[in-house]
Symmetry: C3
Subunit: 313 residues, 3 copies
């Protein structure tokens, strides 16, 4: 696997889910595979879970890890043909080329501007890295997708489903800040290839990009959407159009135990961090129906399955 940026990079996503589950059962079975191999992770915005879980995944495989925060002191130029006489000291051509020589796999976390729609949805920064890297690149979240999170979510659903084809609802929830659409986009595209029935619920105006949402039923009545469902996946995102705007902070969209009771013993999922009593009330997170810690745990095995394919024979 030369890159892992979306479900489309994986010929057999269901097999990859099984591989992650198998690694969870036996995390150290490939602990010699990563000998003399190095994962370099570059964070263009801060990270807790992604850094720790991916580093743990690499260590489980016997790899060395070097993590760098590229948030300050390292301004990269991504455009070609520029006269570099301002604040950007290095071009992506050199940066990606150089790091490729020190790494066997490069992990890159980039982020959404929420202002430049075209650049974000071209996943410009991530794709420039891939263009000039000579080793496999794994997305640690990009402007529009968070594939390791989605893979971990698939594992979590697989572990907890009680039906061959569970019903899954992705519900928007309020948040005080404008957030990217990456997790929602990515969750949808992975759910589409899994054996689930997916519905999205959000206030009018929060329709996601057709690139992801096309073909997925929308139910604008959140309570109605929850009825008889097996998994509630909660996430906030800013509007796709007008791009990056907050249209609604209606607290009625918060997930409550009252609403969870509408489901068919449904489980609650969220990718963390989660703002308690804004997106979801304490009672849900503190109850056994919450799978948020399990999702975070599965991040390790999602990353490990991907890295294993990248450094495997």
């Amino acid at each position: 696997m030369k890159k892992f940026t979306s479900v489309h990079d994986v010929p057999d996503p269901k097999t990859l889910v099984q591989e992650a589950m198998s690694l969870k059962a036996n995390p150290f079975v490939h602990d010699a595979l990563g000998r003399h191999k190095t994962l370099v992770m570059l964070f263009f915005n801060p990270s807790l879970r992604t850094r720790l879980s991916t580093e743990k995944a690499a260590l489980n495989l016997g790899m060395s890890v070097i993590s760098m925060n590229a948030t300050e002191g390292w301004q990269l130029e991504f455009q070609d043909h520029v006269v570099m006489n301002s604040d950007k000291a290095e071009h992506i051509r050199e940066a990606a080329g150089v790091i490729s020589q020190y790494a066997d796999v490069i992990g890159v976390r980039t982020f959404s501007s929420l202002t430049d729609h075209e650049r974000d949805y071209a996943d410009f920064v991530l794709n420039r890295f891939i263009e000039f890297a000579s080793v496999p690149v794994v997305s640690l979240e990009s402007a529009i997708r968070h594939p390791l999170q989605s893979l971990a979510d698939c594992v979590t659903i697989e572990e907890h489903k009680t039906k061959a084809r569970p019903k899954v609802v992705l519900t928007w929830a309020p948040h005080p800040r404008a957030l990217p659409q990456a997790v929602a986009n990515s969750f949808i595209e992975w759910m589409k290839v899994m054996d689930v029935d997916l519905t999205v619920t959000h206030p009018p105006g929060y329709e996601l990009s057709p690139l992801f949402a096309e073909g997925v039923p929308i139910e604008y009545d959140q309570r109605k959407a929850f009825e008889g469902v097996d998994f509630i996946y909660c996430k906030n995102w800013s509007a796709y159009a007008p791009y990056g705007q907050i249209l609604n902070q209606d607290p009625d969209w918060m997930v409550t135990m009252d609403k969870m009771n509408l489901t068919d013993n449904g489980k609650f999922m969220h990718c963390l961090p989660v703002r308690r009593n804004v997106k979801v009330e304490d009672a849900v997170l503190n109850s056994p129906i919450s799978l948020v810690l399990q999702q975070a745990n599965n991040r390790t095995y999602a990353a490990q399955a991907v890295l294993r394919r990248m450094i495997g024979e």
Copy 2:
């Protein structure tokens, strides 16, 4: 050992001191014990010695280490039942729960506010971590204690004592900034269980919390306190009441060679960093009576003894 936050977490402190000394003699004797085990260290304020020595200790045991500065970009909510709609993006329940899944041991460095006495002396941040962590937690200094430093200090005294029951003086010394009481508190509670005679000397007003200082003789005349003593432990702290205030910066309280000559060939100790010619004059630090580097070195074996107990069978 499920937690290491104070001397009260250790059933047999003297044995732990011996274990640290034994590890110092043979640092790599357990280098397979930490295989496939990870120490995650979280620093809520910056650290040099603690990070390096604890990381070294973990490496000596064959553990992997992931260090994170949590100083910026990661604001945690520690209170329950809060509507999290301000600057804090994650709750300690999720944070500690998640990190526990990536770590076999969690190290946490927190710090004193010096303004909120109640919160500090409840060791609120550290204790919330422990409450929600599912793996052992080692304090890398908390609001009111610095137990790895104290354990290293016990080792240093044990190595350098020339009498079965040496006399030890903890002396306050001036400092331009308001500092926590953590090192002083912690030193006292460890000395109380060691075979030493402890006296504290400080200007009036610098009495430490009765939680720690009760039963320890105070001598307000520093020169008199030094007479015939075997170990001088120098430290600044701000007042306990009024909490966190600087009451005195009298340069006459600086430790000098002249004062050290009042001791019985006494050794000088300080936990570092130390401000030269403010707390202690150059002549003392540059002479062989100073044990400050030995104390710093013993930090490694103190941490190693604690980690070994945490990951041991």
Copy 3:
């Protein structure tokens, strides 16, 4: 080898170049040598290539690595006999002494003030570290030299030379900011001991310190300097006198393909990062005559050769 700060620390620089080339061919041949040994790297200014390549070098040798940014929160006092009552919390005597106890090798990156000529050219910070460290110290760039870069450059020239004694030109090129002379100084002193003919070309006023430049021909006509040359090494530096000043930003000094055509199939070298279309035009960097990625790659083996000598018997 107790220190690596300049070519003068190496009795046999040509042999060291050969050792680096040999390690490049077999990077893991000494992967047990670093067992139970730790490299601690301290960065007083940020670093990408140096951190990654040196960390990789240490990992190839089986060492553990601890990297610390000392850019904030750790103000060191380097002068003796100071009353430390201002912003500097720790003295270099303690800092270097303490770190020496946690490290088998210390790497230090310091930087030029470009204002205090005397302090910079005494390499004051680096030399104070060496004075008080009790383990070998490797310079990861200092105020006036960048020896690991120069060693990697020697390897690169050795790999790509087509003549027993190639002609090498160090050419100044414009840059929007005032940069140190370290790379240029260091390149010159390493070239002097290699089998090359070195000429320097720069605008009048950019003469380097006689400590380095003495005996090296200067050609003020850049095009004339390029004629018939085998390697063009491009670098900006600020003036040595008046110290640290920008005297010239003439874009005519940019390296172009047109100028490269004056050489004898000359290769282009630069230590990175490089500002495209300011110091050198895209066409040169994008062509196979550019060796900049190879230079960066050789940083790993340069560091590995030095570390191997430091930890080897």
